[in-house]
């Protein structure tokens, strides 16, 4: 991911000459207006709505009311009682996004590394396969994992049929799984669990991780590795001291991009996470479209999520550049 700002838009060399100028200028104006209308307006609407006032038992109207932001940090019943409910949801948003993007990148890294060592033809085939898998929507992927993790059609059935469940019970480990919320008295269960949520989320972004790491890894000069090997470095030492430092920026950039992408995951969280472990994205949807019709509070939550994402990205970028060139 490009963490640096792009160069200023390239101006054609003959920009200040002849009648082309006004045409070019008009196109630029039109482009700016289109961008403003398509990106900025909805965004400004969300901010404006976040200050709206909710009417109990009805809808809401525009106002300048900071209650929604206060509610985010201390709850609606403040000062009678304080609630960290929404901070907790924000925490889960960040937790899932961080863990899942790190898992995706860590597991995609060796895969991509070996992928770049394959023949051109094999690489192309793999990349086409991965690109086409991106066309699967989140809903489709979640449905697939839902079936794979279901008691009667998926992994728990395999546990049951192969006697693994019984074995776990005999060994006394089954109760530990129950303590972790990964078993009912009858069998192991993976829904709902943090495990299933993180698994699905990393699966969701895994192809992106490969595609984002591929350019950096394929540009890696093989002679560097060969030189290190000739000088007697073991393969792991080569990976640790040559490969990883030279693609460090790509690794961090990929984690950051996937992190932002995963902050808004909705379907996987609603299906696989217990309500106690659900994220702000779900809460936003429920505020806007749910029974309370509280678009202002939904917008306020969205603004807080956005600000958090920006802060974390800035910190991430600082960290990746602070280390200096590897």
């Amino acid at each position: 991911m490009s963490v640096e700002t792009a160069d200023p838009p390239m101006a054609p060399p003959d920009v200040d000459r002849g009648p082309g100028l006004s045409g070019y200028f008009m196109v630029r104006i039109a482009f700016c207006v289109a961008v403003a209308a398509l990106c900025l307006l909805p965004f400004l609407m969300v901010i404006a709505i976040s200050f709206g006032e909710k009417v109990e038992g009805a809808g809401w109207h525009f106002a300048f009311d900071l209650t929604n932001y206060r509610r985010f940090f201390v709850g609606a019943d403040w000062p009678n009682s304080t609630s960290t409910l929404y901070l907790q949801k924000l925490g889960w948003s960040i937790y899932y996004a961080v863990i899942a993007s790190v898992i995706a990148v860590v597991s995609a890294f060796p895969f991509t590394y070996f992928l770049t060592r394959l023949t051109r033809k094999a690489q192309t085939l793999w990349l086409v396969f991965l690109l086409s898998s991106l066309s699967l929507s989140e809903v489709f992927i979640v449905m697939g994992w839902d079936i794979l993790l279901s008691a009667r059609s998926g992994l728990p059935m395999v546990f049951q049929e192969t006697g693994l469940t019984q074995w776990l019970k005999d060994m006394g480990w089954f109760d530990t799984l129950r303590d972790w919320g990964l078993a009912s008295p009858r069998n192991v269960k993976f829904k709902t669990s943090v495990f299933a949520t993180v698994l699905t989320m990393s699966y969701l972004v895994w192809p992106y991780a490969v595609i984002l790491l591929y350019p950096a890894l394929s540009r890696l000069d093989p002679s560097l590795i060969e030189a290190a090997r000739t000088m007697g470095a073991r393969p792991w030492t080569v990976i640790r001291t040559v490969v990883i430092p030279s693609v460090k920026l790509a690794l961090i950039g990929t984690v950051l991009l996937l992190f932002v992408f995963l902050l808004g995951t909705y379907v996987a969280v609603t299906v696989f996470a217990a309500p106690a472990q659900q994220t702000l994205a779900v809460s936003i949807y429920e505020a806007v479209r749910g029974a309370t019709l509280n678009a202002p509070f939904g917008s306020a939550q969205a603004v807080v999520l956005l600000v958090t994402a920006v802060i974390l990205l800035v910190i991430g970028q600082k960290l990746s550049t602070a280390g200096g060139k590897g």
Partner: protein, 362 residues
Amino acid sequence: MAMKSTLSRRTLLKSGAGAATLAAAGSLGAPLIAQERSLKIGSYGGYFENSLKEHVYPKFTEATGIAVESVTQPNSSDWLVTMQQAANAGNVPADLSLYSRDTMIKASRIGDILKPMDAAAIPNLKYFDDYYAFEDKAGTIGVGAMAWFSAMVINPDEVKTPESWAEFWDTSRFEASLGISKLFNSHFLDVIAATFFEGQETFKTKDGIMALIEKAAEIKPNVALWWSAESQMEQGMKNLDIVGGMYYLDVAGLMAADGFPIKPLFPKEGNPGDYGSWCLAGLSTKGGEAAEFVNFSCDPTTQKLMSLMIGTAPLVSQEAAGLTDAEFAAVSGTPVIHPAYEAYLDMETFIQESWDKMLAGA
């Protein structure tokens, strides 16, 4: 624009051999082409909407010559947002929509989303209790369509039939085994109020509501699935992820009829009963057609038809609808737990956040 095309179609039909075409199309039910009068009706998608399309709308078209275009609603509160935005944009997707009572009251309070219907044009209202014709300052805003229950359900192969909702709190029997709706207004709180407290009275104070929610917190170890979409509960019961919980009586009955291990029950405290109302969109120009449809819907024969074909409970008595005891038992039961609608509206933020806090353990 819609008006104009209707007018020209009308002229065309009057001048030509329209009547024959009308009758033919009417018996088929669906096509809008060559229809003189039409009505767009919203209802909850899936099996529910399909049953209306297949069994109820054709009968109406046959009786009145008004063609029905079915519109899919995801549910009632989500639909209210859609209708509100559509009304602002000046073009509504449906003339009549189906709203639960709380959503209807909310729409009435927001204003301009609904418009009153002409009660005089709905003579069949005489079969209904006044409660089902909801009036606000503007007039009759909603007329009852059908009733539905959320019922206790169990997997009869796995669990012994409970006699009371209280048994669901027994962790030695139901640990990590139940499916309950995750929405604060799914009427599970009403079940708790009826089982352990003083029913609707308990909803009158914040302390009462907190007591209900604390009782709900005690069932958390037994709930394996807090569902937000109907299909999650359906899959959960089919897959044995859960062996009991609370679910819609009509859908549970249909699943049982298809051979899935699910049995809806009326425990001694009863089940929460709710109902849907037909409401006319504020921008609709089809007031007359809508009244005719609502009148048709209020007819005890139609109420019976819906009970038999959709599995909803009739809003008229069993005798008026002419349902046998077995037919009636399949769609209804006693006692009925009446939801505390006022509390859900007047203290919605408090109840919603306290409920979510309970779920989140925050």
